[in-house]
């Protein structure tokens, strides 16, 4: 693998993405693009029922089709050691594998479940042969209908219920409302489809190219599943074509590729098709929320009751913190929440961009908007009145919180003063005009990570950590941190990732890469400087009698504090010390002050839109997204992340809905024709404003995280603007033209 030539190629302009050249020239190699000698192609056969038992599989036609090498299914699939119940005699905390066990038995638990893998010498032949497999089932009646069953959800132990002071206190408030909010299943649908290529060397050594947000996570899981030593599992996630959460864990196809490659003793590539992207790699669960909210006539919140139910599969409990936002986003004396999950015969959902708050803020921020009209108070003022100065439950301060600054910046930029206070009262070019806003929030923090730094005689710094970059620009941000710390030109710094041979890094998710990996990179840079100082004392006459603290490091140079003429650049120092390079690895630990602080990133999104008074067609005119995300490390990529979140929010608000025909328990729009993600024409100019004040409590990088807050709050900002334009309140996403006609 000649990875070093493929990404992070200088030169790039000051603020360009460091892997931009690889991406615009087509040289960036994504998972399914590594051609290996002897590679063969695996294609799944998937269940066409949602519940039942496989009675017969007719494989002859497929086996005899041209180019077919093998067909793996439950009757001939080698046992996966990790699918056995965990052995708790050795480790009492060992947990059973809860994910879907591929080709494990003849049970069908969801539609689109992989039930066989056809392996052939070419892609076309594998696809064709897979289409020849016929399956007979003993069908059972599946339960896939959320709406029909939403009151049958179950509470999760220790995390389902929350009470602050009085329960349902909102009912006693002067001004109050109770409403329900519904969000359908949304599917991540990154443009690159999930893929895995597995290569075995003998029975104990495995290399996997995988589309994943965490190579170390995949390594650990495969080591457990196949009883291998972690060091013998190498995972490569060099370029990841988006994921938005679908790559946070390993799915059945990863196991299937590994199983097939071992059985056939040759590399196997397994790429999902777009339909399978809906049934195998998670989705944002269907959710129903009910919010009761009450305030004084002056707008001071008195009580919030927030309930939610979201779906999971029948084989795994998946939960996300949908109702949590109501516990802390505003200062409210009485809050109670409960959250239940509802098992259905659908594959397991997973975290999707802004998991929890993305759904929860649609409920809460819509309810607040509704309340603002009842109170006749501007929605921004209402939020300022109820701003939480400290966390309302723990009374702890926030590490940093600049939400009020966000309101001020955004209201100016969007032209909030033009907003009509009476819905449907403003027209522009014959169109109804609406303005809306909503707040987004997500937990901030930092985890543990290790990074390696290699400083070379040619003046370059190579940084490495086993993390993924699914698009936000992690390598770019790390290069910025490395260059700033070491006083180097960006072009002299490289950040390598996506390979488990590098020091352990976190899974990319929850907006934590910049703080987590950045802190490790800063620790590496500090250690490099310290080592350089020691090296200078040891090898350079002018520094001989100094202590490290007597030497400063300035733009690559070591300078004696007492005598500025005693200075040497590290490149000369390395040469004169006969060291080709200086190498250090450093591990940084997680955010340790959770007992003293609460840490969140915040955003406020502002929307101006037009609604056609006759046809109900919505045309977004302008979005302003303001973020309190700490220090902005790389402005250009940070801005792109925010813009991307706005686009994701447009999809959530206006176009995305994964639809199921419950008679068959089968999706009917698992493609890009019928599952609408926003296209160019849907997206207006997006302005991004950053408060850009560092949070040095969470991490020395000053960052707080952007990925989630970019999307959280966008959908309610849009539906709030729709109400402002039309007087029609949208409580069930997505809002489509037929809901707004006339």
């Amino acid at each position: 693998m000649d990875k070093n030539n493929l990404y992070n190629i200088p030169p790039f302009a000051d603020d360009d993405r460091v892997d931009g050249l690889a991406k615009v020239t087509g040289k960036a190699k994504f998972t399914a693009e590594h051609q290996l000698p002897g590679l063969v192609y695996g294609v799944f056969v998937c269940s066409t029922i949602a519940k039942g038992v496989i009675k017969n599989m007719y494989l002859a036609a497929a086996k005899n089709a041209a180019g077919v090498i093998d067909i793996i299914y439950y009757l001939n699939c080698p046992a996966v050691p990790g699918y056995k119940p965990a052995d708790r005699t050795k480790n009492p905390n060992a947990r059973d594998y809860t994910g879907h066990k591929v080709f494990f038995n003849n049970l069908v638990l969801s539609n689109g479940q992989p039930i066989a893998l056809v392996v052939a010498d070419t892609f076309e032949r594998a696809v064709h042969a897979a289409s020849l497999v016929r399956v007979e089932y003993d069908k059972e009646v599946p339960e896939t209908d959320f709406e029909k069953n939403k009151f049958n959800g179950k509470l999760l132990k220790n995390r389902g219920e929350f009470l602050r002071n009085e329960k349902d206190a909102w009912k006693n408030a002067a001004v109050k409302l109770e409403q329900e909010y519904t969000i359908p299943i949304e599917t991540h649908n990154p443009m690159e489809m999930h893929a895995t290529t597995a290569v075995w060397e003998g029975d104990n050594k495995l290399t996997v190219y995988d589309k994943s947000q965490g190579p170390k996570g995949v390594q650990g899981e495969l080591a457990r599943m196949f009883e291998l030593e972690e060091k013998n599992v190498k995972v490569i996630t060099e370029f990841v074509g988006g994921a938005f959460g679908s790559g946070l864990r390993s799915w059945p196809h990863v196991h299937a590729a590994v199983i097939a490659a071992r059985k056939l003793k040759r590399p196997v590539k397994l790429t999902l098709n777009r339909e399978q992207m809906f049934t195998m790699v998670g989705y944002r669960p269907y959710s129903w929320q009910k919010i009761g909210i009450g305030a004084s006539k002056e707008g001071k919140l008195y009580g919030i009751t927030h309930q939610a139910v979201s779906n999971t599969s029948v084989y795994e409990d998946f939960a996300e913190g949908i109702v949590n936002v109501s516990q802390f986003l505003y200062d409210c004396p009485n809050v109670n929440t409960d959250y239940k999950i509802l098992p259905l015969h659908i594959n397991t959902p997973t975290w999707m961009r802004g998991p929890g708050p993305a759904s929860g803020c649609f409920g809460l921020e819509s309810a607040l908007d509704e309340l603002s009209y009842q109170l006749n108070i501007d929605p921004i003022e209402l939020r300022i009145i109820n701003n939480a100065e400290v966390h309302p439950q723990s009374k702890l301060p926030w590490t940093t919180k600049y939400l009020k600054e966000c309101y001020a910046l955004g209201r100016e930029k969007i032209g909030w003063s033009n907003r009509p206070s009476v819905p449907g009262s403003l027209k522009e070019d014959g169109m109804l005009v609406g303005y809306g806003m909503a707040v987004g929030v997500f937990g901030a923090g930092r985890g543990g990570a290790t990074a390696k730094g290699i400083l070379k005689q040619d003046g370059s710094l190579l940084l490495q950590s086993a993390v993924s970059d699914m698009g936000p620009g992690t390598s770019t941000a790390m290069v910025k941190i490395g260059s700033e710390q070491m006083g180097l030109d960006d072009n002299k710094v490289r950040f390598e990732l996506g390979d488990t041979d590098f020091p352990s890094g976190p899974t990319q998710g929850g907006s934590g890469s910049a703080t987590t990996v950045g802190t490790a990179v800063m620790a590496v840079c500090d250690a490099l400087k310290q080592s350089l100082k020691e090296m200078a004392i040891e090898n350079i006459a002018a520094f001989k009698n100094l202590k490290p603290e007597d030497i400063s490091y300035e733009n690559g140079k070591l300078v004696a504090a007492t005598d500025a003429s005693a200075a040497i650049h590290f490149t000369d120092l390395l040469k004169q010390s006969s060291k080709p390079e200086l190498q250090v690895s450093k591990t940084s630990t997680g955010f340790a002050q959770r007992d003293k602080y609460v840490a969140n990133s915040f955003s406020v999104h502002f929307v101006k839109l037009h609604v056609h008074p006759v046809t109900g067609v919505i045309k977004l005119k302008h979005i302003v997204s303001v973020a309190d995300a700490g220090k902005i490390i790389s402005e250009k990529t940070a801005r792109s992340q925010m813009v991307g979140g706005a686009v994701g929010g447009i999809g959530m608000a206006m176009t995305e809905e994964t639809l199921m025909d419950h008679r068959y328990g089968r999706y009917i729009n698992s493609n890009f024709v019928d599952y609408h993600v926003p296209v160019h024409a849907d997206v207006p100019p997006v302005d991004v404003l950053f408060v850009n004040k560092p949070d040095n409590i969470i991490s020395p990088t000053g960052a707080k995280g952007i990925g989630e807050i970019a999307l959280v709050g966008v959908a309610p900002a849009i539906t709030n603007a729709v109400y402002n334009a039309t007087g029609k309140r949208i409580r069930q996403l997505p809002v489509t033209p037929d809901q707004l006609i006339g």
Binding site: V614, T615, L659, R663, I668, D682
Partner: protein, 324 residues
């Protein structure tokens, strides 16, 4: 996809002969619909007859009207100066369909032949009378938000997906076809079929017949508008669409041609509405009444009831836009 046989036709005649000789063969031109259908296993021709070498790529204007060769790409027709100036309704409808890339590939003949986008037609695991006659229609009691409100049968409630065809229907186009027995002209209104008891048949084309051109008569319309309402602002099939061409003088509608898309198994011509507005002065009330007439007799299902309201709104808006 089976590994079909691939042959190139060097004349319309030989193409038709080959098509008749092998019942499991199909013509291919742009391929944007057929290759998709083959990948999904909805159709599995043993032999593809590539007709791209046939000389059917001319656009010509005569005093009688416009003729567009069957192999003219959608984008070429849409950007053609004559089409844009003399038949703007057609240009607008063409540009409302698919994407720029697809319009570069898809041909005018192929667009006329494209099959429905009904989700149940596309999923080979589900019953569908159009794909697999006699298995039933999954849409009637299924999710039918996109489905027909006019001319459907209990056997099939799918809609025709084309935008271009809605304009062609309004403009009284004629489809020229050639077969082993010679050529014939099919009025656009008679080209596509309603589903009745044979939803597997989309058109009245005979086996072996090949579309060679579409011709649109000269007309006196001086106003036109194509309105497409969809779930996103581009690159999506219509919830409903309306093609309007008017001859307006001094605020009076002298003649009108109106058709709808997204409402029936074929482009849905609104003859009664045309008659109603003809000879009347433009007014909001006129358009509102016209919209009500248009929706008379509509039959809705569980999820497409909105199409009556949206259909009316779209007609009012299209008439307003066209006449302004």
């Amino acid at each position: 996809m089976i590994n079909f046989e691939y042959v190139k036709a060097n004349s319309a005649q030989s193409a038709s002969e080959a098509r008749i000789k092998n019942g499991a063969s199909q013509f291919i031109a742009g391929g944007t619909n057929l290759v998709d259908l083959m990948k999904k296993g909805i159709t599995a021709p043993e032999r593809l007859i590539d007709i791209n070498a046939l000389p059917l790529k001319e656009i010509s204007l005569t005093p009688k009207g416009l003729s567009i060769g069957a192999l003219v790409p959608n984008s070429v027709a849409a950007d053609h100066e004559t089409v844009k100036t003399k038949y703007p309704l057609l240009a607008m409808a063409l540009n409302a369909g698919a994407s720029a890339q697809l319009r570069n590939m898809a041909t005018v003949g192929g667009n006329i032949m494209q099959r429905t986008r009904c989700s149940y037609f596309y999923d080979t695991t589900m019953p569908c009378n159009k794909r697999n006659p006699g298995t039933g229609c999954s849409a009637v009691e299924g999710y039918n938000r996109m489905h027909a409100i006019f001319g459907a049968s209990e056997q099939c409630i799918a809609v025709h997906p084309s935008d271009m065809c809605v304009a062609l229907a309004a403009l009284n186009a004629t489809v020229q076809v050639s077969g082993t027995k010679g050529t014939r002209k099919i009025p656009f209104a008679d080209f596509h079929r309603l589903p009745a008891d044979t939803p597997q048949l989309d058109t009245n084309l005979q086996v072996g017949e090949l579309i060679t051109a579409v011709s649109i008569p000269a007309h006196s319309f001086n106003k036109a508008y194509y309105l497409k309402v969809r779930d996103r602002l581009s690159y999506a099939f219509a919830l409903v669409s309306v093609a309007v061409a008017l001859d307006v003088k001094d605020g009076m509608i002298r003649s009108a041609a109106i058709a709808m898309g997204g409402v029936a198994h074929k482009p849905w011509r609104l003859y009664e509405v045309e008659e109603f507005v003809t000879g009347k002065p433009i007014s909001k009330e006129l358009f509102t009444e016209a919209a009500s007439i248009a929706m008379t007799g509509a039959k809705t299902y569980t999820h497409n009831q909105y199409k009556i309201k949206l259909g009316k709104a779209a007609i009012i808006e299209a008439l307003t836009k066209a006449s302004s």
